[in-house]
């Protein structure tokens, strides 16, 4: 019998949200160690006691993977952290990751009724606590797999969508192989999200858990090049394929000067740092522009831009400035990241848009010609669209610029699979209910369907696909009726 919280709701509401201990901003802006240090067990229990056990827990319904938050929180309150972690794992194969990178304020914590009057229960911090507690205890609550079905699934891409689908499908008794184009597993969790927000050991730990459950991983395989979807089905006899290749190609601004040395896409800059560890050059071979005591400008307002600008600061930039064409309210980045960035001394230059990158005679970046913007009428995304203010031009000094303007669909799979239907933007078209593509046996999910989104949405897509793939493998029934899915602009 677990210990129940007997405190009256009125009293529970009076308890203050336990703050997440953080590395000192000045200190952390010079290192790559994790910013958030994690709750203590004592704080986690106090935090769990703030839950008022409401009748309709919106924390569950707002979670893209449907974690049974209420039950998890109860177990934390009872002090049974391992049971809480195991409960979490029933719906979420990667809790140590989502506890760190989910936009909780828009999901579980956004739905939390306690948040109506005060601050919501810190569900994300609790999630992270139990996942870390479990890992450090060495007593992993890995679910057991169903008896072998004899069916096999190939998953293309080892990012959040691929990993969560792998976790669910292996439990159902299918053989699962995950193919990854890069040399390291984890997709955007490895090459995109920096160490200070998501330590790579955490990702490796979660991947190892999947390996322990029986998932097979093959790195250095570019599906579409090293092997095609058709070959995986015909020659390698996979019964189903899940395409989770991510969004892919970086977009540039299309302004003059983007070819100057010192201008990076956010993908390239972050890949050099995170995947290739260029911040440890020359101990690591891969170089990156040395921005120590230089001016760095990062363009964009999403999490990727935020990661890039905070990384530049850590590399020792004299100034690290985030340039965004709308205002801070419209910024898609997580609130916590914005808050952390400001603490670390990142300059925010809102309502500003670069129109040209300027360079010296040798082709090195020297600055960005920018325009001031104001907000006009709402556009199709519902956000007020930025309009240039005439005569507001100015030059922002910059030796390095990072463009975080989003991504477009990577064409490698689509180009080698002619019967895979894509939309105008070359994203894969699926039936939203079943994640089935136009090709029998092939399912798709994550950014390659929706365009650039979040880790947890990709994980949700992976779980949805797993349910549907399991159903297909069990029944053998395939009805193709893919509808156009809405792609984020």
């Amino acid at each position: 019998m677990v210990e129940k919280n007997t405190l009256p709701n009125k009293e529970r509401m009076k308890i203050e949200r336990r703050p997440m201990p953080e590395q000192n901003p000045e200190l952390r802006s010079h290192n790559f160690k994790e910013v958030n240090l994690g709750l203590s067990a004592e704080d986690a229990r106090i935090e769990a006691s703030r839950c008022i056990a409401c009748g309709k827990p919106a924390c569950v319904t707002t979670c893209p993977v449907g974690v049974k938050v209420r039950e998890v929180v109860d177990l934390i309150y009872a002090g049974d952290y391992l049971a809480a972690a195991a409960k979490m794992r029933e719906d979420n194969a990667l809790p140590a990751i989502t506890g760190r990178v989910c936009p909780q304020e828009d999901q579980c914590e956004g739905g939390c009724i306690v948040g109506n009057k005060g601050k919501p229960v810190a569900i994300g911090n609790l999630e992270r606590f139990i996942a870390d507690f479990e890992r450090e205890s060495g007593k992993l609550g890995l679910p057991t797999n169903d008896p072998a079905t004899g069916k096999s699934v190939a998953i293309v891409g080892s990012g959040p969508a691929g990993l969560s689908a792998a976790g669910d499908l292996i439990q159902k008794g299918h053989r699962v192989t995950v193919f990854e184009a890069l040399h390291e597993l984890g997709g955007v969790l490895i090459y995109g999200i920096p160490e200070f927000r998501l330590p790579k050991d955490i990702v490796r730990g979660e991947v190892d858990n999947l390996r322990k459950m029986g998932v097979v991983f093959e790195t250095n395989v570019v599906v579409g090049k090293s092997v095609t979807i058709d070959e995986l089905m015909q020659d390698e006899h996979y019964d189903a394929i899940f395409v989770a290749t991510g969004a892919g190609l970086p977009k540039f601004l299309g302004i003059p000067g983007e070819h100057l040395n010192g201008v990076y896409s956010a993908n390239e800059f972050l890949t050099r740092i995170n995947l290739m560890r260029a911040y440890r050059f020359p101990e690591y071979d891969e170089p990156v522009y040395d921005c120590r005591d230089r001016d760095v400008v990062v363009v964009g307002g999403g999490n990727t831009a935020m990661d890039a600008v905070r990384t530049a600061k850590r590399l020792g930039a004299k100034s690290a400035t985030l340039v965004y064409r709308r205002s801070e309210v419209e910024m898609p980045a997580r609130k916590e990241e914005v808050h952390h960035a400001k603490e670390e001394g990142i300059q925010f230059l809102m309502l500003t848009n670069p129109i040209e990158m300027l360079g010296d005679e040798k082709g090195w970046l020297t600055g960005a010609r920018c325009m001031r913007m104001e907000l006009g009428e709402p556009d199709e995304s519902g956000r007020r669209s930025p309009v240039e203010i005439k005569g507001s031009e100015f030059i922002l000094p910059a030796n390095m610029a990072v463009i975080g303007a989003g991504t477009s669909a990577n064409p490698l799979i689509q180009g080698s699979t002619p019967d895979l239907k894509t939309n105008k933007k070359n994203y894969i078209v699926i039936d939203e209910e079943t994640t089935r593509t136009s090709k029998r046996g092939v399912f798709a999910g994550g950014d390659i369907v929706t365009g650039g989104a979040t880790v947890i949405l990709a994980m949700g897509a992976g779980r949805k696909a797993a349910v549907s793939i399991h159903e297909y493998l069990t029944t053998g029934v395939w009805e193709t009726a893919p509808k156009e899915t809405a792609t984020k602009a």
Partner: protein, 295 residues
Amino acid sequence: MFKIVEARSVGFKIKQFVIEAPRIARKQKPGQFIILRLHDAGERIPLTIKCSDPKAGTVTIVVQSIGKTTSLLNLLETGDYILDIVGPLGHPSEIEKFGTVAILAGSVGTAMALPTANALKAVGNHVVFIEGARNTEMVVFEDEVRQASNEAYIMTDDGTYGEKGLVTKKLNDLLADGRKIDFVLAVGPVPMMRAVAQMTAPLGIKTMVSLNSIMVDGTGMCGGCRVLMGDKTKFACVDGPEFDASIVNFEVLTQRNAMYRDKELQSLQRFEENKEKELAQVRAQYAKQEAAHNG
């Protein structure tokens, strides 16, 4: 891990490796490349595939020691392992019957141009292969060049072998002699490819060049290899590596390729001082992986 089944020196600081990589061997077509990484702290570098044997499951690459990674790679011998190899990447060369084709290759570029030359010859083109090298020690694969072509010329900068002069001199001579050339492929250093483009563009001869821009992932994800084609941005890894020479902005290519020059030198210098340690590090990878496998 990818086993080196044969490593042998084929010229001054130039080595040929036959490597077990069955997936790549099955799919490789002329003009495509791989990206490899030697150890946990290693960089990813692109290298063009010379040929492959799908039955044996091997691919062949040819490497000239230039920077740190190529120099380290060239210390490896038969029986050693390469940590990561991914491919085949990029679009294959365009193979069709043009008539007379001229293939201009500079030293190690010869290895990259050979498969395309063979394929062009096989579909009935008259192949003129012009190989250039700095000196006699850097002339590679002469026999294979002769086999892959109907006409072969070897040019050396110092005249120690074949004819003295650059590959463009030979092309110029042929054109001056009134030879009709329908298609040109140039593979080599940027100044060479640029010179070829300048020569053939006014004559309207379709010319392709294989671009060697700096890459990281090789799958289109990072955009570091972007090149300017007229006013359009293209990614060498997924849109290339071969491009129409008449629209390539060679100036931007040269400038971007120089981006890490100082770091490359620093790395190379560091390597020269720690050769044995670096080599041991590569060799330790295999033992580590074996231990993990058996444990």
